[in-house]
Symmetry: C2
Subunit: 233 residues, 2 copies
Amino acid sequence: MTTANINNWKAVEAEVLSRIHSRQWEPGQLIPNESDLALEFGCARATVNRALRSVAESGLLDRKRKAGTRVATNPVRKATLSIPVIREEIESRNQTYSYAVFSSKIEEPPLHIRANMRLNSSERLLHHQSVHIADGKPYVISDRWINLEAVPDIAHVDFSRVSANEWLVANAPFTNGDIAFSATIANDSIAERLGIKGGEALFAIDRTTWNNDTAITAVSLVFHPGYQMRTVV
Amino acid sequence: MTTANINNWKAVEAEVLSRIHSRQWEPGQLIPNESDLALEFGCARATVNRALRSVAESGLLDRKRKAGTRVATNPVRKATLSIPVIREEIESRNQTYSYAVFSSKIEEPPLHIRANMRLNSSERLLHHQSVHIADGKPYVISDRWINLEAVPDIAHVDFSRVSANEWLVANAPFTNGDIAFSATIANDSIAERLGIKGGEALFAIDRTTWNNDTAITAVSLVFHPGYQMRTVV
DNA sequence: AGTCTTAATATGTACAGACATATACATATT
DNA sequence: AATATGTATATGTCTGTACATATTAAGACT
């Protein structure tokens, strides 16, 4: 059976998704191989391959060489969330952005930071604390440690003009990073810097970025009460 | 100048990433076009295309027809986080998984749920409250509303045998969904169901899934204290 | 100067054919 | 019975060519 021309990979993808959603192909079921589908759709195998790879990336198909392609039984949906550049996030809401530094000095880091950044004891770290402000109200506070060995240039940056984050993304490209999302309670120092009462539940992001095996920076972001991070699957 | 053989797309990708990280190609800079790179690397243009598309997907390159490919100035890093199937998350830590239902009955939903699911007033909703347990300790509580019009079969499911979530992922495939991550404070009812004291900050996920324009289910997950959701970029 | 048309160009995609590679399954060996 | 080896197969990828499409830039025409 040769279906009407499905001769581009987006069309193949749509057809495949439709068959999965309509349960014509049920969860766990082995679907026809690429060559057969190419024949059925009247297109090249490469086109089917492109489409199936795309669907597999989204988690709806499991593919294995020789074993074939089957519909995922419990599709692990992958949400891609773009890590916000705070200023852009605020400006995209048509709010005015500003930024203030609480302190910025070279300090001995606490143990958990040193462990997290996998440092030996020799590195000098810049401890940088600041707040991003939307329409005059504290939006998120940032508590950052920067490895001066990894980015010596940062010692001469004027942080009244550009935020540490933006300087770093522009000047210290990283190869990889890890992120943890969590909830934290507003203690006195957090509450004061966010201009709120203590005891509230706050959304927090902890991120460490690396240049290969060298830690560049570890930052802890604590958002204002009620903040939600949203995305789609 | 023809570099030594870089004749597969992973190698091209690695070379491109290396040039970006080493700042041989600086942020904002226009990189050579696909044909030139293919010539330089000694491979086909399609191979370069595959690699550049991959790098662009990760956010490090901006590509535009005719305009060419340039290094992203502020790379919006995309973190892909796989939405956890709770049972698997627990079992992957070698903890024993169990599951208990607090209540499961057809109810009139509160307004914000109805709005969120974009329902008119006629639909009947199943309100399902449960807890997922790891090694005997409450791991996450789930407060779920299910649109019976969208999945009538669920009325006959025995939730003592399979969790609502797992039944739904297996039997009610969705086309899209939206997710919000936030922090919430443990009120009395949450604290009781999680077996903790009130007042703690808890990580929460709110997810609504759709079959095209029909809402299938809206679920609110509230995790045990200290829970972190982790990923990499 | 301003607007429309046209050509040039870089990426996007399709195709057929080929080879590479992982691996399930069958068969042979210990 | 357990282990090693071989083979068939489905996906993974590369190549070279071709055409599609978006978009910039130049040129023609008000």
